[in-house]
């Protein structure tokens, strides 16, 4: 399946916008991704292996945090994963 890499993380995928990996579930696909591009792991996960709070990962149009089976959600070859860091801010503390 195809994984879309956002601009700031392409430095860790050799500049690739998309990476194609095998994987029967969301978790397996992400494991393949970080296995092939090990530097990505620290940018996606905290030291204890949790997805960083500002990192959003979507399976097609669904946030994987809110999928009933989360990482264990089955995937098909035609599915797309998109990694998208959050955008927020504001003028006061």
């Amino acid at each position: 399946m195809k994984i879309n890499i956002p601009t700031p993380l392409r430095a860790y995928t050799g500049g690739q916008q998309t990476v194609t990996v095998p994987g029967a579930t969301v978790g397996e696909a992400l494991e393949q991704l970080t296995g092939a591009h090990s530097e990505l792991r620290q940018h996606l996960y905290t030291g204890d292996g949790k997805l960083r709070s500002f990192v959003n990962i979507y399976l097609n149009d669904d946030d994987i945090r809110y999928l009933p089976e989360k990482d264990a959600t089955p995937t098909e070859e035609s599915d797309e994963l998109t990694i998208i860091p959050s955008i927020a801010g504001g003028c006061l503390l």
Binding site: F54, I84, P85, I87, G89, G90
Partner: protein, 158 residues
């Protein structure tokens, strides 16, 4: 150096005027070059922080994904973001910094004072991780007209 057309420069400032006294936000599409980010198109985004839109902004990830797809279709990348500071300086805040995660992207801020766009500044997020990231002041070059005449904007003089 952030380069953008005069039309895009005006459009992002006008967006801040339209949403005043609330913050506006949007995405800068274009290409990264060795001398900086070049904006080819700006895309307005909705501010999901309706609870305190006067001093916060957030772009829904779903909208970002749509914009990213749009960028890819045009042969562009996301090279930055813009938002406004209603009645506050065009300088990044601690919140802006804490919530900035797109290293290599330009964060453009326009101060809107009493409903008028005043100063537009850009800050490049640099670093390699959350631990060493930093904003650095980034000159903004506004290209005026088709003749290729370029207006070098002095920081804080827009």
């Amino acid at each position: 150096m952030l380069k953008l057309s005069f039309a895009d420069y005006q459009a992002l400032r006008a967006h801040g005027v339209e949403t005043y006294p609330h913050e506006c936000c949007g995405v800068l599409l274009g290409n990264a070059a060795p001398d900086g980010n070049r904006v080819r198109k700006i895309v307005r985004a909705g501010n999901t922080r309706t609870d305190r839109a006067h001093d916060r902004y957030n772009i829904a990830p779903e909208e970002l994904i749509r914009v990213q797809r749009q960028a890819r279709g045009l042969g562009f990348d996301i090279v930055g973001f813009y938002h406004s500071h209603p009645d506050h300086p065009a300088q990044w805040s601690k919140t802006d910094f804490d919530e900035a995660h797109w290293v290599g992207c330009s964060y453009v801020i326009t101060s809107i004072e009493q409903g008028k766009a005043v100063i537009t500044n850009s800050f490049l997020l640099t670093g390699t991780s959350e631990e060493d990231k930093q904003f650095i002041d980034e000159p903004v070059e506004v290209e005026v007209g088709e003749s290729g005449i370029e207006l070098q904007q002095e920081r804080g003089q827009a």
